[in-house]
Amino acid sequence: MTQEIIIAGFGGQGVLSMGKILAYSALMEGKEVSWMPAYGPEQRGGTANVTVIVSDEPISSPILSTYDTAVILNQPSLERFEPLIKPGGTLIYDGYGITLPPTRTDINIYEIDAMDAAAEMGNPKGFNMIVLGGLLKIHPVVQLENVLKGLRKTLPERHHHLIPANEEALRKGMEIIHADKQ
C-alpha cells in the first residue's frame, strides 16, 4: 500500500509539522516514508506545503504531480491542488476562509471545521492535530498510538506535557470530520 499525500495551507498553520508527525508515526510502524517540503522564503501568512509518502515499498520519487489525498487548509492551495488529486482520491479541507468550495465529482470530499473546533477547545495551536485526526479517520495510514509516539519523538521534552492536549485534538478531528454536504 502507498499513500501519496499533499498537505497545503498558510505558513504558520503547522502544515510542515503535521507532515513531520505523520512521517515519524509511519516510521514507528516500520513503513517507508518521505517528507518533501516546498522550501524557500516561506513565512507566516504565505503558502506552505509538504508532500508525505507512506508506503510498504521503497519510495522512488519524493516529488509528485498527482496525489491520492490532499489536505487543504486555504483557498489558494485548494485552487492549486484540487485538480491534482487522482480520480477516486480524497480531498480533506477546512471550510474556514474557503469562498470557492471544491467542485470535483470524481473524488471523495470531506470537510473538517478544525479552525472552529480548535477555537472552541481553547487550543488554537491544536488546529493541525485536529486536521491530522480527521485524515487518520478517513485513511488510517498510521495508528493513533504511533502518532503519540511520533509526537514524543518530535517534540522537545519540555513540551511533552502538551501531548495529552494533542491527543484530545486528534480525537476531536476523528469525531468531527464529515463527508462534504454537496
Partner: protein
C-alpha cells in the same frame, strides 16, 4: 544498539551527523540555502565537546576552501559545504588542492543558476563539478547521492577516496535530497585519527618537525617546467588509476531494457517512478544511475548502448551529463536529453512522456 537506530532526518542533517561519526577533524563553512542545516546541525551537536571536531563559520566561501587547504595539508579529515554560487567561489581552491595533492571533502547541495539564481533544486553544477572552474589539468572525485542514506554513507566514502588518492572529493547533492526527510541508519562511530596515526598514514603531510624525515612542502607552485611537467604526468597517471578502479554506479531493470535512462541524484529517484509507470504500459525501460560522476561509468554505458534503441539523459539542467554519455556511446544509439531549469523539478510523468516523444518516434 543506539548507533543502529533507524531515524528520520533531512539529507543535510544526515551529512552533519555522519561527519561527526566518521572521525571528521574539522568543518569550515558559510551558510547558504538550501544547505544551511549542515552548519546548523553541527553547531547544535557541538562535536568540539565530544570528538574534538572543530566547527568554524568562516567569513566567506573563499576562506572556507583555504581553511580546507590548510587543514588537509596537515593530514586532517576536513570538509566544507555550500550551494552552487558558494561553490563557484571555491573553484580556485580546488585547483590548488588538486595541484598540491591535498585531500578534503566539499559538499555541494545544488540550487538553480546561473549566478545567484534561485534557491530551488537543480543539477546545473554537473559541469562545475566534473569539468571544474579552477585552472590546469585536474580532476575532482564526485559522488552523487540519491537518498538521505547515501548522504550519510558518502561522507566517510568521500574521505576514504580523498585520502587514498590525495585529491579533493566532492559530494554533489541538490535541494531535493538536502531538504527531504526519509529513513536513515547513521554510520557507527569511528574515532578521529590521533596525531601519531596521521603521521604514519600521511607521510606527505605537514605535521611539524618529525624525526626521521625531511621537511614536507605543500605547494602547487613549481617554476621549473621540467619538474612541473613530471608533476603533471604524475597527476595524470593517478587520474588514470582512479578512472580504472573507482567507477561506481547502480543499475535497475537493464537486463531486458529496450530503452535506457541515465540519471543521477534526485533525478534518478524521479526516473525510477517514471520507469515503473512505463513498465506498466509494457515499455521496457531500465535505469543506470552513476554514483561517481567523475570517474564517469562510460564503459558500462557503452556496453548497454549496444542493446538498446535509445538513451535518455535525464538531468535537472539544460543537458550537461548528456555530453559524457555521447562521448561514451560514440553514436551507436540515439542519445536525447530531458530536463528543466530555474529550480523547476520535473515530474515522473514528464520524464516518461519525454522519453516517448524523443526516442520512440
Amino acid at each position: 544498539m543506539e548507533q543502529q537506530e533507524i531515524t528520520l532526518m533531512k539529507g543535510n542533517e544526515a551529512i552533519a551527523h555522519a561527519a561527526i561519526r566518521c572521525g571528521c577533524d574539522g568543518y569550515f563553512g558559510y551558510p547558504i540555502t538550501p544547505q544551511s542545516e549542515i552548519l546548523e546541525t553541527l553547531t547544535k551537536l557541538k562535536p568540539w565537546e565530544t570528538t574534538g571536531m572543530v566547527v568554524v563559520q568562516a567569513e566567506s566561501e573563499t576562506a572556507s576552501i583555504n581553511m580546507l587547504y590548510g587543514g588537509g595539508g596537515t593530514g586532517k579529515r576536513v570538509m566544507t559545504s555550500s550551494s552552487s554560487p558558494g561553490v563557484a567561489l571555491m573553484q580556485e581552491g580546488f585547483a590548488y588542492m588538486a595541484g598540491a595533492e591535498i585531500p578534503g571533502l566539499i559538499v555541494n547541495v545544488q540550487r538553480g543558476g546561473p549566478g545567484l539564481g534561485t534557491i530551488q533544486p537543480s543539477q546545473g553544477d554537473y559541469f562545475q563539478a566534473t569539468r571544474g572552474g579552477g585552472n590546469g589539468d585536474y580532476e575532482v572525485i564526485v559522488l552523487a547521492p540519491s537518498s538521505v542514506q547515501e548522504m550519510a554513507d558518502f561522507v566517510d566514502l568521500a574521505f576514504e577516496l580523498s585520502f587514498r588518492w590525495r585529491t579533493p572529493a566532492m559530494i554533489l547533492s541538490d535541494g531535493v535530497i538536502g531538504q527531504m526527510m526519509e529513513k536513515v541508519v547513521l554510520p557507527p562511530f569511528k574515532a578521529r585519527r590521533t596525531d601519531e596515526e596521521v603521521i604514519s598514514q600521511c607521510p606527505w603531510a605537514s605535521t611539524g618537525r618529525t624525526p626521521g624525515r625531511q621537511r614536507n612542502v605543500i605547494t602547487s607552485l613549481e617554476l621549473d617546467p621540467a619538474v612541473m611537467e613530471r608533476h603533471n604526468l604524475h597527476l595524470q597517471e593517478k587520474y588514470a588509476k582512479i578512472r580504472a578502479s573507482e567507477v561506481r554506479y547502480e543499475e535497475s531493470l537493464t537486463d531486458d531494457a529496450e530503452y535506457l535512462i541515465v540519471a543521477f541524484g534526485s533525478a534518478a529517484r524521479i526516473a525510477q517512478k517514471a520507469i515503473s509507470e512505463m513498465r506498466r504500459e509494457g515499455i521496457r525501460v531500465g535505469l543506470l544511475r552513476p554514483i561517481t560522476l567523475w570517474p564517469f561509468p562510460a564503459e558500462r554505458i557503452a556496453q548497454l548502448a549496444d542493446g538498446v534503441k535509445g538513451i535518455l539523459s535525464f538531468e535537472i539542467n539544460a543537458g550537461q551529463m548528456v555530453q559524457d554519455i555521447r562521448i561514451a556511446v560514440e553514436g551507436r544509439t540515439p542519445v536525447a536529453h530531458y530536463g528543466k531549469m530555474g529550480g523547476i523539478v520535473p515530474t515522473p510523468e514528464e520524464v516518461a512522456s519525454s522519453l516517448k516523444s524523443l526516442l520512440m518516434r
